[in-house]
Symmetry: C2
Subunit: 556 residues, 2 copies
C-alpha cells in the first residue's frame, strides 16, 4: 500500500495552547488525498467571566466536515469530557464509527440516554489492550494509568512509521483500579522503533513524580476513620478508583456509602455492571442518609468544582432535599480546583466553614493526586519509547514549552511545537507543511454558535454597560406622535446629583429630534442613528460608560 | 472620663468573611452614646465573573453617616488599596480628619492628584511609631513588617483597656526596608496588659513562618545576573522593598532600571522623595529602554495581575509604545496572583511564552513572599501580647476559623468570631451585643450603586440570556398601526433548523396580539405583558433560555 509518495501527517484541531477540547487528526496519503483518523472529540468548559451564558466550548470541525468522505473513524482514548464530551454535539456532523473500550462506551451510552434528542452513535467496543484497524490505520491500545478507568494510549502503525498518541497518563505503581501503565508494551515499541510521540503536557512544570492513588486511599481511610460526625467526600464522578478508595475507607470505618448527584449515580451503576467495585458492599440509596446515624455514613457527592446546582453546593446551602450537614461534620475535597473555578469553590468552602463544618482539601492533606505525568515520568516514558519526534499537546503554552524542553534535554532528535490547525508532516521528513481551519464553537443554551458570531460578544458588552432601548412613532411626514418610550437595562437609576438617568435620556431624545432638519426627520434610519448617538453620549456623560442603544422608529 | 458605665465596642464593617474592603470601628461610651474611631477604609476588587462592569466594591458606610457627629477620625494603618482605597469615594460622606504616616499620606495625595474631582482630604501626618489622640482614643503606632513601607499596628488605649489592632503584618527579621516588627513594644504591651487583639488572618492556614524579603532579594539577584537578554520584573508598585531589591539586583548585574506604568512611576517618585531608595542610582526614563543594550536593562512593570491595560499586558501583546520584549528575554513575576485573576495572569504568561520569552514565577523560584503572618508568627505575636480577647478579622471564613483555632490553642481566654456588622462589646464583659448596618456598594462607571439595586443583577442576567426589545404602536381603540419592530440583543441568530429567531419573535408577537380579546387590546399594559410572555416562551422553545424582554407599547 505504501507508495513512494505516501506521507503521514498530524494536526491538532484543539487542546494545544489551551486546557481541554482535545481533538487530533492523523492523515495518511499523498498530496492532498488523505485518509483521516480522528483521536478524541473533547470539550472545554467556558470560564463564565469571559463567555457569559456559554456552557461548553467545542472544537470547530469544519475541516473534517469537508473531508467527511475521507474520514476513517474516531477513536476515543478515555471518557473524560475534555476527550469525548463533544461527541454528542459533533458526531452528527461527521457520522463515522466511534471506537472505544467498554467503560468509555458505557459512559457514552449513559450520557446519550440522559440527553433528550441525543444522536444514536454507533460505537465499536474494543477490549482493553486490543488491536484493530480503522481504514489504513493499524491501532493498538496501550493501557495507561490515569484518573479514570480504561485510559489508553494509541500505537498507530502506518507504512510511514508508528506513532504513540499518549492520551492522558501517568505512571502509578499502585493505581488501585485497573492495570498499571503498560511498561512492557511501551518498551517494546521503543525496540520496534517509534516515529513520533504526541503527548500529554499538563504537568510538565511539576518536578518529580505524582503520588499514587494508593497514597490518597490511605489518607482517606485515616480521615474517615478519625471523623466523628457525618462525612461527605466530593470528587470527579468518573474517577472510579477514587470512588472505590472512598468506599473501602468507609468499610474500614464501618460506615455505609450514599451516592449523591446524577453523574455520581451514573458512574456507580456502570462501575457495578463492569465489576469495578469488586466485593464492596452495595451503595445505599439516597434516602438512607436520613436514617443512618451520623457516624455510620459517607456521602459521595458531585460538586467538587463549586457548580451551583451540584450536590455539594446544594448541601452547603441547605437546599438539598435529603442530604444535610451540620456543625462537627466533615467535607473532604478529593479533587483539584480547575483554574477558573477558584471563586466558586471558595464560596462553597466558606459557606461550609461558616456552619462549623470541617473542610479538608489537598492544601493540607493528600486527598487528591493528578492523573497526569510530572517531569520525571515524562522523562521515563521517553526513555522507554525513544521517539524520533516529540510533539507536545494537551496544555497551555507554558506546559507545552516545558514538555518540549524535557524532550530536547532527553535527546529527542526533533521536537515540534505547533498550534491548533497546524498541519505537521511526520514522515517523510518532519515539518510544518500547511494549516487547516480550526477554531471554537460555543454551546449557548441548546444552540451551537460560531465563536466569531456577535452573540456572545454582545452579551459581554451588555454585562459591562447595559443597554438603552428607545421607541418612537413618526408619521410619514416626520412628525412625532405620542411620547417616546424608554427602557434602561442594567444602568444605574440616578446620577451623582440624584437625578434620574431616564430623564436625561428623555431630554436627549427630544432635543436631538427637534434639532434634526425637517428633511431628515422623515428618514427613520437617520432619526434612529441620531437618537442612538445622543442617548449614548447622555448616559456616558453621567455614568462614564456608553451602553448599547437600540432605537425603534415606527412609522404610523 | 471613664464613668462606671463606660464601655468599649468593636464592629467590622468590612473585611470579615471576605478578602479586602477592611473597615473597622471602635466605639467608646455608654448606652447608645458612643464616640467612634474608624480604622482603615479599604476596597475590594470585583472579580469580573460575578459583577460584570463593576470596578470596585466599597463598604457601605450608612451607619457612620448617621453617626457622623460622633466620629472622632479615621486612622489608616497602611497604604494598600484594601485598607485605604475607598477613601476618595467615601471620605466626602464622613468628612472627619484622616491620620496616616508620611508614606501613606504621600500615596494618598498622589492618588487624589491623579483623579479629577477627587476630594481634598485633610490628612494629619503622624510619624512612624508616634503617639496621638483621636477624640477619646489614645493611639500609639507599632511598626510592623509588611509588603509596603510604614505598615502600622495600632495600640488603642482607652479607659476600658488597650486594644491591639494589628493591621497587616508579618515577622521578618530582614525586611530590606524600614524597621522590623517592633517586638519590644509588643512585649511591653503584653506586660502592660492587652484587652483585645484584632488581627490579620490571611495566612492562618499556612504552617511555619514566611520567608523573608531578603531571601527574595537574593533570588532576584541570582536570576537577573544569570539572564542573557532583557529582564522585566512585575510586582505590586507599593512594595517598595521589592522595587529596591530589584534595583539592587540590577546594580549587581550592571543593569539600569527603567520604570514602566503609572502606579510604578508614582511610587518611584514618592520613594525617592522619602529617601526609601538609599544610595541607589536614579531610575532611567522610559525612553532609555530603547537605546540601552538588552543585557543592560531591567524594566520594573505594573501588571502583575494580568490587568489588560497595565504595562506588562501591553508589552506581552506588543502594544507598548516604548517597551518590547522578544525571544530570549526574561519576565519575572515577583507577585502572587490574587484569587479571581488566575485566568487573566495565565493569558499574559502564555502570550509571553508563545513568543519564546522565559517566564519565572513563584511556582518554581522564591521570587515572592507574602506580607502576612503564617501560623508560627501568629503564635509568636500572641505569646508577646497575651491578649484577653482575640477577634480574627481580614480573611475568608476558612482563614478566620483557623486563626480562631490558633488563638484557642494558645490559651487565649476569649476568642470571638464575628461577621461584618456585628457589634462586639470588648469591655466590660465581652460579647456580641448588637448589629449595625453593613454591606457593600459598587463603583460602577463613575457612579456608586447599592449592592441591593437591580443594576448589576440585571446586567448579569443580560450576559446569560440577552434581551429582546419589542415596539408596537396602537391606536386608542387598540388597533395595531404599522409593523412592530424587534431587536434581539445577544441572542443567536438562527435556531437548529436554520430559521431566524427574529421571525419566530415576529410570529409570537402578532399571534399573541391577535388572540387578545378586543377589550384587552386597548390596555397597553396588558398588551405589553402578553407580548413579553409570548416572546420569552418563543425564544426559550428554540434556544433553551429565556431572555429578558422589554415591550414598548406606543399609543398613537
Amino acid at each position: 500500500m505504501a507508495g513512494p509518495q505516501q506521507e503521514l501527517v498530524f494536526a491538532p484541531l484543539g487542546g494545544v495552547g489551551e486546557i481541554g477540547m482535545n481533538l487530533s487528526i492523523y492523515g495518511l496519503g499523498s498530496g492532498n488525498r488523505r485518509q483521516w483518523l480522528v483521536v478524541d472529540v473533547g470539550v472545554s468548559f467556558a470560564a463564565e467571566e469571559h463567555l457569559p451564558g456559554v456552557d461548553l466550548i467545542l472544537p470547530d470541525v469544519r475541516y473534517l466536515e469537508a473531508e467527511r468522505k475521507n474520514l476513517a473513524g474516531i477513536v476515543i482514548t478515555h471518557a473524560h469530557e475534555d476527550h469525548f464530551g463533544a461527541l454528542l454535539e459533533l458526531w452528527p456532523r461527521l457520522k463515522v464509527p466511534v471506537y472505544a473500550t467498554p467503560f468509555t462506551a458505557a459512559l457514552l451510552e449513559a450520557k446519550c440516554a440522559g440527553e433528550p434528542g441525543a444522536p444514536e452513535i454507533p460505537v465499536k467496543v474494543i477490549p482493553v489492550g486490543g488491536r484493530f484497524t480503522v481504514g489504513a490505520f493499524d491501532i493498538e491500545l496501550v493501557t495507561m494509568a490515569h484518573s479514570i478507568p480504561e485510559a489508553n494510549a494509541l500505537m498507530i502503525r502506518t507504512p510511514c512509521g508508528t506513532v504513540l498518541h499518549t492520551g492522558d497518563w501517568k505512571i502509578d505503581p499502585t493505581p488501585i483500579l485497573g492495570d498499571r501503565t503498560d511498561e512492557a508494551k511501551l518498551r517494546a515499541l521503543g525496540e520496534e522503533g517509534c516515529l513520533a510521540l504526541i503527548g500529554d503536557s499538563t504537568n510538565s512544570v511539576r518536578e518529580g513524580r505524582s503520588p499514587s492513588e494508593a497514597d490518597v486511599a490511605k489518607t482517606l481511610t485515616e480521615l474517615i476513620k478519625a471523623a466523628k460526625g457525618r462525612v461527605a467526600v466530593t470528587t470527579f464522578a468518573s474517577n472510579v478508583a477514587r470512588l472505590r478508595a472512598v468506599a473501602e475507607a468507609a468499610r474500614a470505618a464501618e460506615r455505609e456509602v450514599v451516592v449523591v448527584g446524577r453523574a455520581m449515580d451514573r458512574v456507580a451503576i456502570i462501575g457495578r455492571e463492569l465489576g469495578l467495585f469488586g466485593d464492596l458492599p452495595p451503595f445505599r440509596p439516597m434516602d438512607a442518609y436520613g436514617y443512618l446515624p451520623p457516624n455510620k455514613v459517607v456521602a459521595l457527592c458531585t460538586g467538587s468544582q463549586g457548580e451551583p446546582r451540584a450536590a455539594l453546593s446544594r448541601i452547603a446551602e441547605d437546599q438539598h432535599p435529603e442530604v444535610t450537614l451540620s456543625r462537627g461534620d466533615t467535607v473532604i475535597y478529593s479533587a483539584r480546583t480547575i483554574p477558573g473555578n477558584e471563586k466558586a469553590v471558595g464560596r462553597v468552602i466558606n459557606g461550609l466553614i461558616d456552619q462549623g463544618i470541617e473542610v479538608i482539601t489537598d492544601r493540607t492533606h493528600l486527598v487528591h493526586v493528578s492523573g497526569h505525568p510530572r517531569r520525571a515520568e515524562v522523562e521515563e516514558l521517553l526513555s522507554w519509547v525513544k521517539p524520533r519526534i516529540v510533539i507536545p499537546v494537551h496544555g497551555e503554552a507554558l506546559h507545552l514549552s516545558e514538555h518540549a524542553k524535557i524532550a530536547r534535554k532527553a535527546g529527542v532528535p526533533e521536537v515540534i511545537q505547533c498550534r491548533n490547525g497546524d498541519l505537521v508532516r511526520l514522515a517523510p521528513k518532519a515539518g510544518l507543511i500547511d494549516e487547516v481551519p480550526a477554531g471554537r464553537i460555543y454551546k449557548d443554551g441548546r444552540l451551537l454558535v460560531d465563536a466569531q458570531a456577535r452573540t456572545v460578544a454582545d452579551r459581554r458588552r451588555l454585562s459591562f454597560a447595559g443597554a438603552v432601548s428607545v421607541a418612537l412613532a413618526l408619521t410619514e411626514k416626520g412628525e412625532l406622535v405620542g411620547d417616546p418610550s424608554y427602557d434602561l437595562l442594567g444602568i444605574p437609576e440616578r446620577d451623582r446629583k440624584g437625578d434620574f438617568l431616564h430623564e436625561h435620556v428623555h431630554e436627549a431624545v427630544l432635543s436631538t429630534f427637534e434639532s434634526l432638519p425637517r428633511g431628515k426627520r422623515r428618514d427613520p434610519d437617520a432619526v434612529g442613528e441620531a437618537v442612538r448617538r445622543a442617548v449614548r453620549a447622555a448616559v456616558n456623560e453621567r455614568w462614564g460608560k456608553k451602553p448599547m442603544c437600540y432605537v425603534h422608529v415606527l412609522t404610523v
